[in-house]
Symmetry: C2
Subunit: 389 residues, 2 copies
């Protein structure tokens, strides 16, 4: 649980942003946003006025929220009659997270606070959270150590002929025993992820709905993502891409495993991925422009003659090479086409150059890094090499 | 994947509802809604006019959506310029799922379709889906068989002194190997579930955010739900409450395990839960009013002197005793206070009378049933008895 000073500093930074944007306060209803500012993820609503003290209104469980909350004024959710009186008449513009709040929820609160203007604070919220404090970076490093420990166990259970789903089950079992919290939060509408992927060459090149380079076949059209019942073959790349979630903080990494030998085309593509990661890692410095990093990575892929395979099956290539991680898997910043903003120190980013060959499988690498003046600090500190068994 | 006639019938039923409500069509953007009507869960948008043929507009992956979709007109998502031309000028009222669609998404489509009125079709959508076809009931029964098979393995790995998280990891490993798809869809805003719960008396009585009788402590304040690092003790109830997801269809069940003996208070409460389940099961018939079933169950709890412990820790009692299941864990109907609607044949409901004793743990039962003229048909067909080890 975050310490009190964390919560206070986060709220102060938010209040500064609100005042700059002439917004009179922000009303948060989304669980992980509330956790970020208060230290509790009970069912509650958080009001942060641009000036003054925050107020946490709890639906369930009040007892548990009062135990966990770092916000002094934590009380039961009021009746609809009492609710409006909590907002001073001078409050006119109310910030709301339009990116995740359903229309029904927005209408409910807009009706309670009739006459006030609701404005979107999604970007403010995401930008604030993208920069991690020293305390948060410690949590991210802890998560990294624990996820790496699970990855290092893979040679104990990976066997040729096993099904992808069995490989995934063995990995996930160890991940849970290591304390991973399982539920992986994603902010993007219509994305779903179950912890990660263990996919073999038979399925890893298949395109899909997922906003990433690799989707997998999954177990049915209802869940078309992740491992399938296909079996893992020798002499082909087996891609293990998993998240670990500890104290809410997500890290994300990928390693390639091969039982036997890897064919030269894939070996060369893997080396290109490592070179791209090395370039990006060296440049994960405050001020570097996200889009420029992506374009440089795409250029390196082109120089290697691998444009068509970069970050997706040919024709379905994703236009990014890295994404922020933290309390959500898809935080800011995105190392992507169109993301013309500078990196900031303390942001944490999963860098994942991958090459997709529909017939041969996928190779690549992924590590979570912290942005610093000396370049990326590796949070998932395990060797990058292909593991040959 | 559903057969074509399923998709056609679902769309015909929807169109009838739309015409009855004088809505000119429904625009679906939520993945599982789109899957229900089309058979594909790629990243897409579905337009169902009140009269005429549906249209599936795919963002990613088009190739995969075209393979899976049961809707004849499946094509790429158009440009913002082309989008409005897909809607006839006579279309005025457009149905939209306000329960799950974020404000940003709604604003995006409302702008594309300027001048049209967006109306909420959340209830229509949920009511339609609550009644399962014969084909869907077969899928639910298959899911039930597979989940029961995993529950029957528990005595092989449950041991006194193991941590809740290790018990959960062993269960989840077998669940995944049985083919469960892992990601459990919930519709309610701000609910999160990671497959289920394996919780011991040390934590099962703890209140929480989850809209159910049992939340568990979880692994941190960021993920305050499910198993913790507490250890499983002899002579206390161990509650295993898990979902299984196969071909998208979710079943939900709970069994109690005891290493050694159970104290008489808990034994009597368990017997009361079984009696309530028996009563409800016998009355899961078309026409029975959901609220009346709940009130009868609550009355039986009171007769047994267990009102305070029914469906939650004293003071945090939930006011329901069952919930619809299917493609989502929280479908209609809800056997709950305030839900004054009749059951319909073919609805599938998880019935879960539970008694929570903060100091002693939780006992109870949960099974998934189909509503039929002969009463509830048990889908999770495993003995209800406490398993003594």
């Amino acid at each position: 649980m975050p310490i009190r000073v964390e919560s206070e500093q986060r709220i102060i930074r938010l209040q500064q942003e609100l005042r700059t944007k002439e917004i009179d306060g922000a009303l948060f209803i989304y669980p992980i946003d509330i956790y970020y500012f208060t230290g509790t993820r009970q069912n509650a609503v958080l009001w942060v006025p641009a000036e003054g003290n925050p107020l946490l209104l709890v639906r369930k469980s009040l007892a548990r929220a009062q135990e966990e909350s770092l916000v002094a004024d934590t009380r039961p959710f009021p009746s609809s009659k009492e609710f409006p009186a909590l907002f001073k008449p001078t409050i006119r513009r109310v910030g709301f997270t339009f990116d995740v709040a359903p229309v029904q929820q927005c209408n409910f609160y807009a009706k309670l606070l009739e006459g006030k203007e609701f404005v979107d604070v999604s970007a403010i919220n995401r930008e604030l959270r993208s920069v991690k404090s020293a305390w948060e970076l410690e949590r991210m490093h802890e998560s990294g150590v624990r996820l790496c420990e699970v990855f290092s166990q893979v040679p104990q259970f990976l066997r040729a002929g096993m099904r992808e789903i069995d490989l995934a089950a063995e990995f996930e079992c160890r991940l849970r025993k290591a304390g991973s919290e399982g539920y992986v939060r994603m902010r993007a509408f219509n994305q779903e992820l179950f912890q990660g992927l263990a996919v073999s060459a038979a399925t890893s090149g298949q395109p899909g709905f997922f906003d990433g380079a690799v989707t997998g076949r999954g177990l049915s059209a209802a869940s078309p993502h992740g491992p399938s019942t296909a079996t893992v073959a020798a002499n082909t790349p087996i891609l293990i891409d998993y998240t670990g979630v500890f104290n809410g903080y997500i890290v994300d990494m990928t390693r390639i495993f091969v039982i036997g030998n890897l064919e030269p085309t894939l070996r060369r593509a893997f080396d290109a991925a490592i070179a791209i990661q090395q370039y990006l890692s060296a440049n994960l410095k405050p001020g570097a422009i996200c889009e420029e990093l992506f374009l440089a990575a795409a250029d390196m892929a082109e120089q290697a003659g691998l444009s068509r395979n970069f970050m997706g099956a040919p024709g379905e290539n994703a236009r990014f090479v890295g994404h922020g991680v933290g309390l959500e898997l898809d935080e800011f910043p995105v190392i992507a086409h169109g993301f013309k903003v500078p990196l900031k120190a303390g942001q944490t980013v999963a860098i994942e150059p991958k090459f997709v060959f529909p017939d041969l499988g996928v190779v690549g690498i992924e590590n979570t890094f912290a942005v610093s003046t000396g370049g990326g600090v590796k949070i998932t500190d395990l060797p990058d090499d292909i593991v040959f068994l």
